[in-house]
Amino acid sequence: MGIRTLIVMLVASLLVIAILATQPAYSLFLPQLLEGALLTAQITVLGALLAVVMGVLAALGKLYGPAPVRWLANIYIEIFRGTSALVQLFWLFFVLPQFGISLEAYTVAVLALGLNIGAYGAECARGAITSVARGQWEAATALNMTRGQMLRRIILPQAFVAMIPPWGNLFIELLKSTALVSLITLSDLAFKAQEMNQTTMKTIPIFTLVLVIYLAMSLVITIGMRYLEGRASRGLARGRTV
């Protein structure tokens, strides 16, 4: 879908929220829902940052690390991809304290979801890094760069461009999986909705608002990633003029 269409959709969903906010039946719930949405957004952004760092590190470790690092990277990826985010969340929140490590629910949410998405991201990153043409390494070698310089200056900048679209999908997965954090006592958007639904039974207005708010947030992610992709691929695309 073109970025214009996406922006139109985002504006439309914000308009829908604004219009509904003028209706007393809806405006009643909006402040609480927005409060929940703020928490959802925070966990998504922090989780995404953690996921990027972990994903790129794990991919580099798996590709180029010495044996122990490769090993660690593999264990991380397999554990966090092979078990569900819910179990990871519960484990960090309920089991870890038994070993004397108690983390706040908010921290656990960011950690568990970030590490989970990071493990998937590591595979995207690895694919993107290995997809950079061999000639790029060879040209860098002929210019006498060190391996670190090649990675930093030549390979990773090109790999990042290839990573952006799959990462965009993962961030949306992350946004959706934040709904799980209500199970470890956090009042995110989904939690607020359920809570108010139980007390007021106003299912239609509440869940209509929730739907549009989630949609708006995921559109922000998609548009942001498209923008990044466009910026990062400057020069990589054929046939533009300066």
Partner: protein, 259 residues
């Protein structure tokens, strides 16, 4: 030209599994010499350049550059396999231009040319840019400094690649069929740049080429490879004028026939 070779292949062999690509190759190249390597497909021409650029390891023998071993280093009077630090030290004297250009697509022509001088040689941006501007001017691309590779023609890209390699001030330049990927009308502009470089007496040039006319006019020596060995070599006049080896005759006949 002096007596001491700037590059010496000393009984160098290269194998891929059971396939021997180069068989105990002996080849000396002298300072400032322009050597053209020709031969049929699969005869090991590219492999020779790639080994010298350290893009391939070697299985036997030693490659020497400027009197120092490239593939090996001296330890307690014995030659052992070179480590990365040693390879980088010697490799600094060599530059290479590839058939497929291999420019960095995320960088402008200028950025391609200042990248290694800055990161590898530690040059200041200003100095690196001045050097790159001179080189881009020399290859006729002063107007295209801020263009990305995707905005340049093949011939222009290859000229940027030549400037990029020269920016590291190598003593030895390797060219592997640098015009093969180009449309015919773009070949001339790249050869013109190489001709210009040829007038630099200090620069040693080693080029694999199918351009017989260019080899004849440009090179000081032609090396004809056949099945991983140098089958015949000599000054272009004699080599093309009165080839001695039957394989050479066959090959020349075939390529001249093809035009």
């Amino acid at each position: 030209m002096t007596d001491k070779p700037i590059v010496r292949f000393d009984k160098v062999s290269k194998r891929y599994g059971p396939l021997t690509v180069l068989d105990s190759l002996e080849l000396d190249i002298f300072r400032g010499e322009k050597v053209a390597i020709i031969g049929p497909s699969g005869s090991g021409k590219t492999t020779v350049l790639r080994m010298l650029m350290t893009l391939e390891t070697i299985d036997d023998g030693v490659i020497w550059v400027d009197g120092e071993p490239l593939t090996h280093m001296e330890r307690n009077g014995k030659l052992v396999r070179a480590d990365q630090a040693h390879i980088r030290k010697i490799r600094a004297r060599i530059g290479m231009v590839f058939q497929s250009f291999n420019l960095f697509p995320h960088m402008t022509a200028m950025a391609n040319c200042i990248e290694a001088p800055m990161t590898v040689l530690g040059m200041k941006r200003q100095d690196a840019e001045a050097r790159a501007a001179d080189l881009l001017d020399m290859v006729g691309l002063a107007q295209k400094k801020e263009h990305y590779p995707s905005q340049l023609s093949g011939g222009q890209q290859q000229r940027v690649a030549i400037a990029r390699a020269l920016a590291m001030r190598p003593k030895i330049m390797l060219f592997d069929e640098v015009t093969s990927a180009l449309d015919p009308e773009l070949v001339g502009e790249v050869l013109q740049v190489i001709r210009k470089l040829g007038s630099e007496h200090d620069l040693t040039m080693l080029m694999v080429t199918h351009q017989m006319g260019f080899a004849k006019e440009f090179a000081d020596r032609i090396c004809f490879f056949y099945q991983g060995k140098i089958c015949e070599q000599g000054h272009p006049k004699e080599f093309f004028g009165s080839p001695k080896n039957d394989r050479t005759k066959q090959f020349l006949h075939a390529v001249l026939e093809a035009g």
